[in-house]
Amino acid sequence: MALPHETPMVDIHCVTKWSKFDTSWEGVSVDALLGAAGGVAADEAFVVAFSDGGYTTNLPLDDVTNGKAWVAFDYDGGPLPAEHGGPARLLVPHLYFWKSAKWVRGLRLLTHDEPGFWEQLGYHNRGDPWREQRYQGDP
């Protein structure tokens, strides 16, 4: 599929409090993927990213559109290694890094929010590091 590639350089924030700055990636923007897939229905406001092994994570659609997210397959100039989520992972750098689902297989658009794997166990539905939204109930 010949979708345009982008090369974002971003900071990433892990929920266990470390951050890594100026990481460089290559991937396809989620905007381009959604466009190629036929766009988004008016009432679809949420996304679930799913990977092998039953892993899922949920996010508001607004957090993966308008240049905020990619499906990345290259990291630091080379193919994304398996231990970092390769061959492809979701990349949503403005949210805590667990939202950037490794080994991503697809994105499902929903009209309602559906807590994913870690969110069912108490992690936040959105995960904004600037508001320290780690767990359900964090404002």
Binding site: C14, S51, G54, F117, W118, L121, Y135
Partner: protein, 91 residues
């Protein structure tokens, strides 16, 4: 797909499970509700580490036990666990 080299096993979960169950759980025989295989908790595959605890069945990969514990809450999902058997050690 998960990098298998990185996984640990139920032995590494011994501390958190001891806190929860008030007894050692690594020698407990756990039956997976997915495939019915019974294995010692110490022989289950452990993932997750930074975020929480996930123990998976080595036979069918089903999450047998999932746990997140913080100072403010505990969440425990055991839908993958249908039975636990513990034998007291012979003294």
């Amino acid at each position: 797909m998960q990098t298998e080299d990185m996984r640990l096993d139920g032995n590494a979960a011994g501390g958190p499970l001891r806190e929860l169950f008030a007894m050692d759980m690594t020698a407990a025989m756990a039956t997976c509700s997915g495939c019915g295989t019974a294995r010692a908790v110490g022989a289950l595959l452990e993932y997750g580490h930074e975020m929480g605890l996930i123990l998976r069945c080595p036979h069918c990969n089903m999450p047998v036990l999932r746990m997140v514990r913080t100072p403010r809450f505990l969440r425990l999902d055991v839908t993958g666990l249908s039975f636990i058997a513990i034998d007291e050690p012979v003294s």
